[in-house]
């Protein structure tokens, strides 16, 4: 079956012309889940359906969504739902497509989430760079308000919901939920210590649930079709589908919504058309740049939370960044570390200073000025960043270094013993900084 004809959840109608308009979205079954929920279900029924579906957060951590919602105290008001649309993990580009092409599926899922947890004022935290996405979402919200799906007395049921679309201004760290909340409150986007968890003291110190775009966009399907329908795909503990974002040296990069449990090999060679130029694959980041890199012997790992963890990495956002046999892993790692150095919020010394040092050593390796033992120094430094910083950014920054050297150690050592002018080598970047 061609990919286009395979069943999907979020992407089912994504290429229908004008699906971003409320009328067209309704013609394709849009807002029926909202009508059903408000007409036939109590908030706890919605919450339980999502809980029973086994939906796990698609933003990277994979925490069960229904359980997250159930942690919200029922007697403390106001409570808030915040949609994390700050998509900035290198390799990840699925949320932007949902927002641009089918904003109503996201809005409907968001409204359902608000109903489930009793939130009367919800927030979207949209990354600042999504100018067009912001405009599309604002138009969709205006349409939903005009239809009576958002606002006072939704569909005559007495349910109220106000929605504010908040924008960021360029900071990867704001994808971390507590940094996001700091930013949304108007502070520098620096993470907070947990506990208290946002479910207890989140936005404005009130109970808050932060959910990813793709997570929420799955909810209308679950309410329309039931938890069991969602569970027809994927293994017991990672049910449903996952949008796999495939980038790098493949023939057909893009977003593919595939059943959980599809193998990386299938995703890369069947859906994304294999490696460009008929070359061999050298490795891939399975879930964004913050997840340990895999060598090709992990290609048959199923794409689901537990299988990827068992194989030694993380599903993350299922952002598959693939690189071919000619790739210079030292240059890839160097540029990723420049990213983490730039995005470190500066709060914790190991992350702020450590990333600077990692970049400096990777830079000298890249320019063939490495010293004996540099690989060991890099690993030692990375080990002293991971687990010693406040939030996961420190761990994330250490990951490409630790896993890169674990998997491709000889590439790092060759930079010292046999510099690249003597190797077959395609420079990843021609300009230095």
């Amino acid at each position: 079956m061609a990919y286009e004809d395979e069943p999907k959840i979020i992407h089912q109608h994504i290429n229908v012309p004008d699906i971003k308009k409320v009328g067209v979205y309704e013609e394709h079954g849009g807002y029926t889940a909202l009508r059903k929920a408000l007409g036939e279900m109590r908030p706890e029924d919605v919450l339980n359906e999502v809980k029973n579906s086994g939906l796990r957060g698609r933003g990277g951590a994979g925490f069960p969504t229904g359980m997250k919602w159930s942690f919200m105290p029922k007697d403390v008001r106001p409570s808030y739902l915040v949609c994390n649309a700050d998509e900035s993990e290198p390799g990840t580009f699925s949320n932007r497509e949902i927002i641009l092409k089918n904003p109503h599926i996201l809005l409907e899922g968001f409204i359902l989430g608000c109903y489930a947890i009793g939130c009367e004022h919800g927030f979207f935290y949209l990354r600042g760079e999504f100018f067009k996405g912001y405009a599309v979402l604002r138009q969709a919200l205006a349409e939903a308000k005009a239809r009576g799906y958002v606002g006072k007395n939704i569909l005559g049921t007495g349910v109220n919901l106000d929605i504010t679309i908040h924008v960021g201004a360029g900071a990867y760290i704001c994808g971390e939920e507590t940094a996001l909340l700091s930013s949304l409150e108007g502070d520098r986007g620096q993470p907070r210590l947990k506990p208290p968890f946002p479910a207890v003291a989140g936005l404005y110190a009130k109970p808050t649930s932060v959910n990813n775009v793709e997570t929420l966009a799955n909810v209308p399907f679950i309410i329309n079709n039931g938890a069991d329908a969602f569970r027809q795909w994927g293994p017991e503990r990672s049910p449903g589908m996952k949008i796999v974002s495939i980038s790098g040296h493949v023939n057909n990069p893009g977003n593919y919504e595939l059943p959980m449990g599809t193998t990386f090999r299938d995703a890369i060679y069947n859906y994304a058309g294999g490696i460009r130029g008929g070359k061999e694959i050298k490795g891939f980041y399975p879930g964004g740049s913050s997840t340990p890199v895999f060598s090709p012997d992990k290609l048959d790992t199923p794409i689901d939370f537990d299988s990827v963890s068992a194989a030694g990495s993380l599903l993350g956002t299922a952002a598959l960044c693939v690189f071919d046999e000619d790739t210079d892993i030292v240059a890839v790692t160097h540029r990723l570390l420049k990213f983490y150095k730039h995005e470190s919020c500066g709060k914790c010394t190991p992350c702020r200073e450590g990333n600077d040092w990692l970049v400096a050593i990777l830079e000298r390796l890249k320019y063939n000025q490495g010293r004996d033992g540099d690989a060991d120094v890099l690993v030692d430094m990375a080990n002293n960043i991971a687990g010693r910083s406040f939030c996961p950014l420190g761990d994330a920054a250490a990951t490409p270094v630790r896993s890169g050297i674990a998997n491709f150690r000889e590439d790092f050592e060759k930079r010292i013993t046999n510099p690249p002018d003597k190797q077959i080598f395609i420079p990843l970047e021609k300009i230095g900084h």
Binding site: G39, T92, Q139, A142, V167, G170, G186, D187, A319, F339
Partner: protein
């Protein structure tokens, strides 16, 4: 001095947050100030944001300096931001940066002498499948090659909207959050309130435990 229009937009944005939480509006307010000040944020503009939102000026400086989309030094009329993170580099972002440097006659981080273009290398813009790509002002331009770059730069030099821009209007580098519905073209014309209003069933009383 912030224009009256800018001040009223900041106030309208602040009203979208719960009562007493107008501090939340500082980021969008800074976008408004940046637009109002010719595309960058002089200190006076930050001071005025502080005044409108009743925040300490130091707080506003702290926020402005934290985020990469606020420019505290002047930028060109058009801001060209090439994504240079590894996934894009695997698909030619390095060559694209080199190409733009050559066409514009400047290095990354610089502004052309005529003040038309500033070139920047930025971090992942969530368009890795369509690399090399760049955000130029309000628009993403994807799957770039030299011919497309020529077309884009020519159009922008003439003050026109490049044919494959995401927006059909020229917004410069102003964030759409700074715009009213009318400016942004938000319209709900012809959209009626949904008719078949559902009546909420009274939930069954929970069974005694």
């Amino acid at each position: 001095m912030l224009s009256d229009q800018a001040v009223s937009r900041i106030e309208a944005i602040a009203a979208q947050y719960p009562k007493g939480r107008s501090k939340s509006a500082v980021v969008p307010a800074l976008y408004v100030a940046q637009r109002d000040s010719g595309g960058w944020l002089p200190r006076e503009a930050m001071d005025e944001v502080a005044e409108v939102l009743e925040l300490p000026a130091s707080h506003v400086y702290g926020v402005a300096s934290f985020y990469s989309m606020f420019y505290r030094t002047p930028v060109g009329k058009n801001v060209v931001q090439v994504c240079g993170t590894s996934p894009c580099r695997l698909r030619g972002a390095g060559e694209m940066i080199e190409c733009l440097e050559k066409k514009l006659g400047i290095k990354t981080g610089e502004t052309t002498a005529d003040g038309e273009f500033t070139l920047m290398e930025v971090e992942c813009l969530a368009a890795c499948d369509k690399a090399p790509m760049a955000q130029i002002n309000a628009d993403y331009y994807e799957n770039l090659d030299e011919a497309k770059v020529d077309e884009i730069l020519d159009a922008l030099r003439k003050g026109e909207v490049p044919s494959f821009a995401e927006f059909d209007r020229y917004f410069g580098n102003a964030h759409p959050v700074t715009m009213t519905d009318e400016e942004l073209g938000i319209s709900v014309e012809g959209i009626q309130r949904a008719e078949n209003v559902v009546v909420k069933k009274q939930p069954e009383p929970a069974a005694a435990e």
